[in-house]
């Protein structure tokens, strides 16, 4: 195979990494019956936590762990408002997205005396394969949780038929809370990839809509995780092509960069239109 093609595929996989995490996170939330539009916030929190902790510890592992734990903690606001106080998940999700955008500069100002980007990370040892290892582990654990365990079954019942779950003595809210927390944890890892592997620091709003793309992929894939991941990979491929095209002088002289940057979004939109959405979890709201 042409080495240029191989390069494009490798970079496609690389840029779709955060999406794959976010889609997996979104899956656990939506399947348990809670509409999840706060993925964007989780990516940002994850990205910022990972950048900060990696900067100080010089260890990717510490950065990823911090991203997972802090995002999961952050998501407790979401769970509390929705499960305990019965808020509307769309409204609260939007609120959380805004909160993440606001709270990160405040913390950043305290730590780095800057509301913009965090300082560049220097690793003790470069570890280019680390995010892939984390991805494989995450996907394996997610598959096992959702398809093999009793917990996974109960989680799906919270999304499909609450009454059935209640009538065997299980509180749907508890399963939803657990699932929402796991959802945030996984999405936080996606954020970590964003700031520590795809770039070398946190910069404001660096998630640039990836949370929403992952959610759209999930919805249009009919809440089927494998299909959603494929859509995410497709988006990654378009993104990689787009980067290639921008660096190609023959094209970039004639086509404005903004148009080239549109390609992945337009292509994903078309792909999503072809996939028809069906069978949402019955209790999803």
């Amino acid at each position: 195979m042409d080495s240029a093609l191989v390069l494009i595929f490798l970079s496609a996989l690389r840029v779709s990494l955060p999406l794959l995490f976010a889609a997996t996170g979104g899956y656990f939330s939506e399947k348990s019956g809670v509409a999840q539009i706060a993925l964007e916030a989780y990516l940002l929190i994850g990205a910022f936590s990972a950048a900060t902790f990696t900067y100080y510890s010089k260890s990717l592992l510490v950065g990823y762990l911090a991203a997972a734990v802090l995002t999961a903690l952050f998501s407790q606001i979401f769970s509390l408002l929705i499960l305990k106080f019965k808020g509307n998940s769309i409204v609260i999700g939007t609120g959380l997205n805004l909160l993440a955008m606001g709270i990160i500069p405040i913390i950043s100002k305290t730590i780095f005396n800057s509301t913009g980007s965090t300082p560049s990370i220097e690793l003790a040892q470069p570890a280019p394969y680390f995010p892939y290892v984390v991805l494989v582990i995450t996907l394996a654990v997610s598959y096992w949780l959702s398809e093999k365990t009793i917990w996974g079954l109960q989680m799906k019942f919270a999304g499909e038929k609450k009454l059935a779950l209640q009538s065997v003595g299980i509180s749907p809210a508890v399963r939803q809370w657990q699932s929402l927390t796991f959802s945030a944890l996984v999405t936080g890892l996606g954020g970590a990839v964003l700031s520590t592997s795809l770039s070398s620091n946190y910069s404001p709003l660096m998630s640039s809509g990836r949370g929403f793309i992952a959610l759209a992929a999930l919805i249009f894939a009919g809440w089927n995780l494998a299909r959603a991941l494929l859509v995410c990979l497709f988006f990654g491929l378009c993104e990689a092509l787009q980067i290639q095209m921008q660096s190609n002088e023959a094209i970039s002289t004639y086509v404005a960069a903004e148009f080239i940057q549109m390609i992945p979004y337009v292509a994903t939109l078309i792909a999503l239109l072809i996939l028809r959405s069906k069978y949402p979890p019955a209790e999803l709201k």
Binding site: L145, K148, T149, I150, Q166, S167, G169, I170
Partner: protein, 476 residues
């Protein structure tokens, strides 16, 4: 001695008192039936026992002890199984997964599913009752009868002592209902206490040990079954005698109103034209042919749709909005709604059809099935159409409403109007129709005149693989 006791139970939802001072006692291992019209408070009462709703005042006793369930979980722990009228199954999951859920506990556990053990246990029960369900299929792919068996199977695997059946036969075919009743008797032999809610008096009479009758939220009678006749039960339920309307004398010569293309069927003025057959044998096709023809000829028609929930009752819309939906030309002018007139007309309709509660601002979906149907029938007849398509007009409807609907169909057909009555209830077709056809695998047999065939003969034509020699009116 009472095993389950309701003592002075009152349950109200806001201002609406659903159950008023009800006291019932139920002995161990008996089949106790609770009958009453839709909205009489039967289901409400059972939901109290099942822990789904809390009691407003009064006490429940279980085995002489005060029983105060706070949730469905409490009922579950007390070995009470509730088989709901609307199945509590996750449609996008498989039958096996739905069963597996009952085996799990509320403790957080990452144990993998014990699918094979549960499958064995489930199959044991299935073979014991000679049932066949593919447990690996998604629930949405199972037939209604199969879904109900799955629901029962789920309950039985937990070895409950008390089983509540809420209108279990509402959606079943006559054969399936018969099988279910046999099954309930079998459960009784295994020492289970069974509470059966229904308004099908024949089946109640045949299996029950004792019967409680509710009317408008009050207990009117609680007696051993042998002391009550079916007529008495009906009378207690609706509070007056049931008058069966008799078929009408028809003029000998009647004009044809329209004919169905490619068949020899024509619809006459002043008649009820019955369509018998097991569901799914071409009923929908026949109805759509008729609709096409009527639209072409510009005949005004009313349409009582076959699936009330899907096609006639829309979530979140109240009565007058439903009225507007059907008769929009009557109440709209230049894009504005004549709201006062619309509400007035709806109120009159609700009054004359005795829809309860008479609240035209309440969403139609929150009414009981019988009241929904009364409203729908009333609405379809409101602007005096020439033809009424009535598909399963009395399905899921109680006796009083059934009587009312039957009477109005007969009344309607008097005045040079035609009714097409599609029903899977053979008695209904035989009792109301002047002429009828039988559908079997999209073939139309007939038409037959009233009294030409008896029930057995019709049943044979409905179910046979091959109906050679029987007059054929066409194929759909």
């Amino acid at each position: 001695m009472a095993y389950i006791e309701f003592r002075n139970i009152t349950k109200s939802f806001g201002d609406c008192v659903a159950c008023h001072d009800v006291s019932i006692s139920i002995a161990k291992s008996e089949i106790h039936s609770i009958i009453g019209e839709n909205g009489a408070g039967k289901s409400t009462l059972m939901k109290l026992l099942g822990g789904i709703d809390p009691v407003t005042s009064g006490d429940l006793f279980l085995n002489q002890k005060v029983y105060k369930p706070e949730s469905a979980q409490d009922a579950f722990k007390n070995k009470i199984a509730f088989i709901h009228q609307h199945f509590v199954l996750a449609e996008q999951l498989s039958g096996l997964e739905n069963i597996l859920l009952s085996y799990s506990s509320s403790r957080f556990s990452l144990m993998t599913k014990n699918s094979s053990e549960v499958l064995t246990a489930a199959n044991q029960i299935l073979t014991r009752f000679n049932w066949k369900i593919d447990l690996n299929k998604l629930v949405s792919r199972l037939s209604v009868g199969e879904q109900q068996r799955l629901e029962i199977l789920k309950a039985l695997l937990q070895e409950p002592d008390i089983i509540i059946f809420d209108e279990p036969t509402a959606v079943l075919t006559p054969q399936e209902s018969e099988e279910l009743m046999q099954f309930i008797l079998q459960l009784k032999k295994e020492n289970k206490t069974i509470i059966l809610i229904s308004h099908k008096l024949n089946e109640i009479k045949s299996v029950s040990d004792s019967i409680s009758v509710l009317r408008h939220g009050r207990l009117v009678q609680s007696k051993p079954a042998q002391e009550l006749s079916i007529e008495q039960m009906a009378e207690l339920m609706i509070g007056r005698q049931v008058v069966k309307s008799t078929a009408l004398e028809r003029p000998p010569q009647r004009e044809a109103m329209l004919s169905v293309p490619n068949t020899s069927i024509s619809l006459l003025k002043s008649e009820i034209f019955g369509v018998a057959g097991i569901e799914g044998n071409g009923q929908s096709l026949l109805i759509s042919r008729l609709l096409q023809e009527m639209t072409k000829l510009n005949i005004k028609y009313g349409d009582i749709t076959e699936d009330r929930i899907k096609l006639s009752v829309f979530e979140g819309m109240n009565l007058w909005e439903h009225m507007l939906l059907k008769h929009k030309n009557e109440f709209l002018s230049k894009g504005l709604i004549f709201e006062l007139r619309l509400k007035k007309v709806t109120e009159d309709l609700v009054k004359s059809w005795d829809v309860r509660p008479p609240d035209i601002d309440k969403p139609l979906s929150e009414f009981s099935g019988g009241n929904q149907q009364k409203f729908v029938v009333g609405r379809e007849l409101w602007n005096q159409p020439q033809v009424l398509l009535a598909a399963h007009p009395t399905r899921g409807v109680d006796l009083g409403a059934q009587e009312h609907i039957h009477k109005s169909l007969l009344e309607f057909s008097k005045h040079k109007k035609a009714v097409v009555l599609v029903s899977s209830d053979l008695n209904e077709v035989l009792y109301l129709s002047d002429r009828f056809v039988i559908l079997n695998k999209n073939k139309i047999y007939g038409p037959f005149n009233r009294g030409e065939l008896n029930e057995q003969q019709i049943g044979l034509i409905m179910a046979a693989d091959n109906n050679e020699g029987i007059k054929l009116a066409g194929e759909l």
